[in-house]
């Protein structure tokens, strides 16, 4: 899994330095702040609304619902899409900036669901219109199941390699985290020694993904 950890044994030191790779850093920032678009056509939208509110708060996972597709990076397609609504959905998806992710929520969006057999107007599955990352079955999926889908999406995003393998190992990003402002710059410089820098590189092997 994607690991960006604080050095546990040196928590008492005033200067903490984390070593990571740019890949993990960017993946971590993406999974920790997936902002979904408030998009809902049908019944699943009410479960999406329950997810936003008090009991199944999804703000604690970093999801802040956004009204505009320009500010969103996740679309939880909640509800049946008909042929009349399809262009509107595709336009919403195209307006979202990269990187963007799609969770197909509910049976209606995966295959057409209970409206998929005999109905004249339903689109049988969102993957005819937009590329889908995670399929979440259910009619309705409970809010806990939606959270599970978001977890799976986070796992999927954390596997994303922006820079391919051999280069990935060698690029390190050193994050300097300064917890207090009372230390001046020069004092800080003197305190950075090799012993304070914790390397996590060995734990970032790709075989840990399995």
């Amino acid at each position: 899994m994607n690991l960006v950890e604080l050095p546990l044994q040196h928590q008492t030191t005033s200067n903490s330095i984390i070593s990571t790779t740019s890949n993990y850093l960017s993946n971590w920032s993406r999974i920790s702040s997936l902002w979904p678009l408030i998009y809902g056509t049908s019944c699943c939208f009410i479960e999406f609304a329950s997810l936003i509110r008090s009991r199944f708060d999804f703000d604690r996972y970093g999801l802040v619902p956004r009204s505009s597709p320009r500010q969103a990076d996740l679309i939880l397609t909640a509800g049946t899409v008909t042929m009349k609504m399809a262009p509107s959905l595709v336009r919403n998806y195209e307006q979202m900036p990269e990187p963007k992710y799609v969770i197909a929520m509910g049976a209606c969006t995966i295959t057409g669901g209970m409206f998929g057999t005999d109905l004249y107007s339903t689109v049988r599955g969102f993957n005819k219109l937009i590329p889908v990352d995670v399929y979440l079955p259910g009619c309705l999926p409970k809010p806990e199941e939606i959270i599970d889908a978001i977890m799976k999406l986070r796992k999927k995003i954390s596997l994303f390699l922006k820079i391919k393998s051999c280069i990935n190992r060698r690029i390190d990003v050193l994050l300097l985290i300064l917890p207090s402002t009372q230390y001046s710059y020069w004092k800080l410089r003197s305190r950075i020694t090799l012993s304070n820098i914790i390397y996590f590189r060995d734990t970032f092997c790709e075989k840990d993904f399995k």
């Binding site: 056509t41 019944c43 009410i46 609504m85 109905l119």
Partner: protein, 399 residues
């Protein structure tokens, strides 16, 4: 305003299908003169077509399809569908089943009003009532889940009775939950009813006269308000539970709140008051509920329960699910007082096991017609909140 060759035209703005306050998908095209809305035209048809689909299903298979159009108050629609089928079949529903139906319909009413008035509040700008009311709603959805197994689309009220009996301890939990629910309603009211900003946003906006309401076919909360110019004329006190009592509503006798002014503030107050009346009924129901059967005795209509010996020894338990039951020929219109208004089902049968036509009279489709007249000369922000006060859900407009 746009000018072309000296001609001034209104500016057309699309309040599109993807909108955080669109209550599903509802598209309105607003013609505006500056900031003032001259005309608001709802464009519908963006959601599934349930009515045609039901013609291909048997009556029992059609029951879950009645949940989906109005997805916030699901058991009310099931009740309408089941009552229509029972009327055609001339079937008697046992008393215990009637009490269970009333109990769950009133739970549905509270659940719907808490969603409707607080999403309306969120459209107006107050986001806290939404948080509080949804916690209450979660408690009610827990009761939903305990009985039929699903949080929202229950498929619980079936032709002939209800699907399963109440589990042990449910009535006790419901009464302990309703004891604290009235104080939750008080908290919601404290946030909004006397609030100066709330009143400024809601009073005298979206007014409807009693005559207009009757002409447009409004029902439910929309009808029980009146116009300020005729203070002596009360709002139309039409409640299907009083006018044509069904099940055991004549024994529980709710008070029907009626408004005085016809604007959005009145509708909000009526919804709050209806929640209180529903709590009253919910408190009475478990006490009055007799023990007994929960399904009609007709084996054609209701399959035997899973635990009974009849189930394992007969072949009849396959038939209601595969072939369904045949319903005699004429048609019927059955209406119930759904939380949003009068929800009616016009069922036409041709004697076979599938409905020939099932027309849904949804309250929201009548209310959405009034959007234009209600939002004239108001701001676009008010259009959004008028959609909220009409308690429209796009599934019922499009069916």
């Amino acid at each position: 305003m746009t000018t072309r060759n000296g001609q001034i035209k209104n500016f057309t703005l699309n309040s599109g299908p993807q909108h955080p306050a669109a209550h599903g998908v509802s598209r309105s095209v607003l013609e505006m003169n500056g900031e003032v809305v001259e005309r608001a035209e709802p464009h519908i048809g963006l959601l599934q077509g349930t009515e045609k689909l039901i013609e291909y299903k048997t009556y029992l298979q059609a029951l879950p399809y009645s949940d989906h159009p109005i997805y916030v108050s699901t058991m009310a629609q099931e009740h309408a569908h089941s009552s229509a089928v029972e009327t055609l079949l001339n079937c008697e529903v046992p008393l215990r089943a009637q009490y269970i139906r009333v109990l769950f319909r009133e739970i549905t009413r509270i659940s719907n009003h808490s969603l409707a008035s607080t999403t309306h509040a969120m459209d107006v700008g107050a986001s806290t009532p939404f948080l509080w009311a949804f916690e209450e709603r979660e408690k009610l959805l827990e009761f939903y889940e305990r009985v039929p197994g699903a949080r929202m689309h229950a498929s619980f009220i079936r032709p002939g009775g209800v699907a399963q009996d109440l589990p042990l301890g449910l009535c006790r939990d419901i009464s302990s939950s309703t004891q604290q629910f009235a104080s939750r309603i008080d908290e919601l009211e404290e946030m909004s009813t006397g609030n100066r900003i709330w009143k400024l946003r809601l009073v005298d906006i979206g007014t409807v006269t009693a005559q207009q309401a009757k002409d447009w076919g409004f029902s439910g909360v929309m009808l029980r308000v009146k116009w300020w110019a005729y203070p002596s004329q009360p709002g139309v006190c039409w409640d299907s539970r009083r006018a044509a009592p069904y099940d055991v509503h004549d024994q529980s006798d709710p008070d029907v709140p009626v408004g005085t002014r016809g604007d959005r503030y009145d509708r909000y107050c009526i919804r709050i008051e209806e929640m209180r009346q529903s709590v009253r009924i919910i408190v009475q129901c478990p006490n009055q509920m007799p023990s007994g059967m929960i399904k009609a005795d007709d084996r054609q209509l209701c399959p035997p329960s899973r635990g009974s010996s009849v189930y394992s020894t007969s072949i009849h338990h396959f038939e209601p699910y595969t072939e369904g039951f045949s319903v005699p020929a004429p048609s019927t219109y059955t209406a119930v007082e759904a939380p949003k208004g009068e929800f009616g089902v016009f069922l036409v049968s041709n004697g076979s096991n599938r409905p020939y036509r099932r027309k849904i009279r949804a309250p929201g489709s009548a209310h959405s017609q009034g959007l234009d007249s209600m939002s004239k000369h108001h701001m676009p922000a008010d259009v959004v909140t008028i959609i909220g006060t009409q308690d429209i859900v796009s599934g019922e407009v499009d069916r």
